[in-house]
């Protein structure tokens, strides 16, 4: 076996560096003064970015991935699990996104978390998250990926509930963790099935062996559906999307990093990584695509009715991740990953902009008490506008290219044959329109139009410091330029698809005529325009009157409450679960503790019985000895002699 190249080892170092940063802040953080903890953390992630960049530059084009075994962990029977990293095109892209956007968010956090007494704990947990996420994307085997999977879940829990003194925050963190756990069950069972079917848990081996199975084999479909369950939990897809809106209880940079750019894309990565399995199981792939599309639509509708600046973005994330999931479900893996990259840029930017606004207004998060902030906060306003246009899919910005890629992928995929690809496409197109509309609403209510600020907010408002606005600008540049990585093949060179081709499963896509391709592009652009136009009319021209009239309607109420999923989960899962827990608690109290108490009270009773023996009367003792000896003699007689 050839020696592992240096750049592969360097890339594999990145999670370790982040972990070290986490430990430094975790162990010594209390002594560190304010900027130091943030600088250490940002440096750790920055080093990780440099390492990923080195790996990216040094990576030979067309290579099929390098396996770097760090430690042979487990060999038991037929099962061998190594701590091994797989450095290939897909993992490098994810590493760059994680460390790049992560670095910017860490720098932003230095300013955002200034004055917070738990800043060292924050940076320690944030670094730990980056380390776990890197392990997730660099893992070569399902168990190692699961380690990263669980790690990001734990860090998400810690960071959502960062201000744990408030009950609501702790509850949101707990909700996130429990819903994630449901997905984790899917991951575990998928691992068991994978081992049973493939005899190995290494991803490269699984992907190589998948085409040997029959097309549509039931075991592959089962594995695919279970992986979908896992992805749904982590990426907040139907029906496990409940936790993401509540997760906005955490600090805004956390929402930006974890719930916009990285953790929620872990599910997309998982499906892309195991693409060979899905490519052979069209039923599972189609289910994935439909789940993604429906989630996108439902979340987009819900986003319209939200009044919290971050909750709109939360539902927007669910919706956009739905797009990505639909893409990888259709087999257009490069399109899904492409959207991961662009979405990371503009969604993180949107969240950080929201954080900037919240920071400037001294904690205000209600959209109804904002407005006109673009005039007072120039940088934040401009960058947020760029991000809004990007997510809406305005041509020439990044979102346009990635969304168009997804739309064309779902329409032309052979995997979705017979599963209603046309309807899927229509749903996604409709969602694109809605996306543009609700994002316009968001932007308008915050940054444009009349000022509805409270008096103290008005006195407070100021543009954020440079440490917060610089990452905004950097992300804005990314939102603009990232799109050019995935220019459609008929227009120019599709860099990202070419880059990812050697490591993603090959799926047949029907070739569209040039006219059809251009028609699609125009349709995407029109969708964006329609959405923005509708938003413009509703809120600028009509001054929100129609919107206000629609507010009390049941549809709007449903949308406000997240399309009834929370209520459904409450009735179906939470209440029965609570009664089971209450029953078990009663069992524990009565039976276990009661039995224990009975034993405890029984001991003095037993002792009293025994002390009756201790009379001090020699004759009784002598009698006891005599009786015992007589018994022994009798037993000896009967057992030994009179056999």
């Amino acid at each position: 076996m050839t020696e592992t190249p240096v750049f592969v080892q360097l890339v594999a170092l990145a999670p370790l560096v982040a972990l070290v940063g986490s430990l430094v802040n975790g162990l010594f953080g209390r002594g560190l003064r304010e900027p130091a903890s943030g600088v250490v953390a940002s440096a750790a992630v920055g080093v990780g970015f440099v390492l990923s960049l080195v790996g990216f530059v040094a990576y030979p084009a067309g290579a099929e991935g390098y396996r770097y075994v760090v430690w042979e962990f487990l060999r038991a029977g037929g099962l061998s699990v190594d701590v091994a990293f797989l450095v290939d095109q897909l993992s490098l892209v994810m590493c760059l996104v994680i460390t790049g956007v992560g670095f910017l968010i860490h720098v932003y956090s230095i300013g955002y978390m200034r004055g917070d007494p738990g800043h060292a704990r924050y940076f320690s947990q944030l670094n730990l998250f980056v380390a776990a996420m890197l392990v997730l994307v660099l893992a070569d085997s399902l168990p190692l990926m699961f380690v990263g999977w669980e790690g990001v879940g734990v860090c998400s829990f810690l960071l959502i509930g960062f201000w744990y003194e408030q009950r609501a925050n702790a509850d949101a963190a707990r909700k996130a963790f429990i819903v994630n756990r449901v997905g984790d069950v899917g991951f575990l069972i998928a691992m068991f099935l994978t081992f049973k079917a493939f005899g190995t848990l290494e991803l490269s081996a699984v992907n190589a062996a998948a085409p040997a199975f029959a097309y549509g084999a039931p075991v592959l479909t089962a594995i695919g559906l279970l992986l979908l369950l896992a992805a749904a939990g982590k990426s907040a897809q139907l029906p496990l999307q409940l936790w993401l809106p509540d997760a906005m209880a955490g600090p805004t940079p956390v929402s930006a990093l974890i719930h916009a750019a990285t953790m929620v894309t872990a599910g997309v990565y998982l499906i892309a990584r195991t693409g060979a399995v899905f490519a052979q199981a069209p039923a599972a792939a189609a289910t994935v695509a439909w789940v993604g599309a429906l989630t996108a639509l439902v979340a987009a509708v819900a986003a319209f009715a939200q009044t919290d600046i971050k909750r709109v973005l939360a539902y927007s994330t669910i919706s956009q991740v739905g797009f990505m999931v639909a893409a990888v479900g259709a087999g257009a893996y490069w399109a899904g990953i492409f959207h991961v990259v662009t979405h990371a840029c503009f969604k993180a930017l949107l969240f950080l902009g929201a954080g900037s606004v919240i920071h400037a207004l001294g904690g205000e998060q209600d959209l109804r008490r904002m407005g006109g902030l673009g005039r007072r906060m120039r940088v934040t306003g401009t960058t947020s506008l760029i991000a809004t246009l990007a997510i809406a899919g305005v041509p020439l910005l990044s979102g346009f290219f990635s969304k168009d890629a997804i739309l064309s992928g779902t329409l032309t995929s052979s995997l979705l044959d017979g599963y209603g690809a046309g309807l899927l496409f229509a749903l996604l197109l409709l969602t694109a329109v809605l996306t543009a509309a609700y994002m316009f609403r968001w932007y308008y209510l915050v940054f444009a139009g009349d000022e509805r600020l409270t008096a103290e907010a008005k006195a407070h408002v100021h543009e954020s410091p440079a440490v917060m606005t610089t990452p905004l600008v950097a992300l804005a540049v990314g939102s603009v330029l990232a799109g050019y990585l995935g220019v459609q093949a008929f227009i120019g060179r599709n860099l990202i698809a070419e880059w990812l081709a050697p490591v993603t499963a090959a799926v047949e896509f029907r070739h569209l005529s040039l006219g059809a391709e251009w028609a699609l592009v125009v349709a995407s652009a029109l969708a964006a325009a329609a959405g923005l136009g509708a938003g413009y009319w509703l809120y600028h021209v009509d001054k929100g009157r129609t919107a206000k009239r629609l507010e009390p309607t049941p549809v709007a109420a449903l949308a406000r409450s997240g399309m009834g999923f929370d209520a459904a989960a409450q009735a179906v899962l939470v209440r029965p679960g609570e009664s089971v827990a209450a029953g078990l608690a009663a069992l524990d109290r009565e039976v276990v503790d009661g039995g224990l108490a009975a034993t405890v009270s029984g001991v003095p009773l037993l002792a009293r019985l025994v002390t009756l023996w201790q009379t001090g009367y020699v004759r009784l003792y002598a009698l006891a000895m005599l009786a015992g000896a007589a018994v022994v003699a009798a037993v000896a007689l009967f057992a030994g002699v009179l056999r």
């Binding site: 002390t611 009756l612 023996w613 201790q614 009379t615 001090g616 009367y617 020699v618 004759r619 002598a622 009698l623 005599l626 000896a629």
Partner: protein
Amino acid sequence: MSVPSEYFVALSAVLFGLGAVGVVTRRSAILVFLSIELMLNAANLAIVAYARQWAATGGPHALQGQGAVFIVLAVAAAEVAVGLGILVAIFRYRVTTDVDELAEVRA
């Protein structure tokens, strides 16, 4: 015709049983002592009987049994001396030798 050794052992068992019953039943410490002496004698008798049996089956060291009885006899005598001394000492302070009254080690 010699008496078989087992008969002597059976006699020894009966005497031992009698002595044991006496230990449990009697209330005066002196009488308990007497019963103990009875038990010791029963044991000695058993040893001598088995020594004779051993001699009969050809063991050249059968006399060791009789030597052991000698030792036991001496020990029993010493024990009686000390025991009665204790009894006298107790009597001097308690004026009673009833074992039921002398139940100091009580729970």
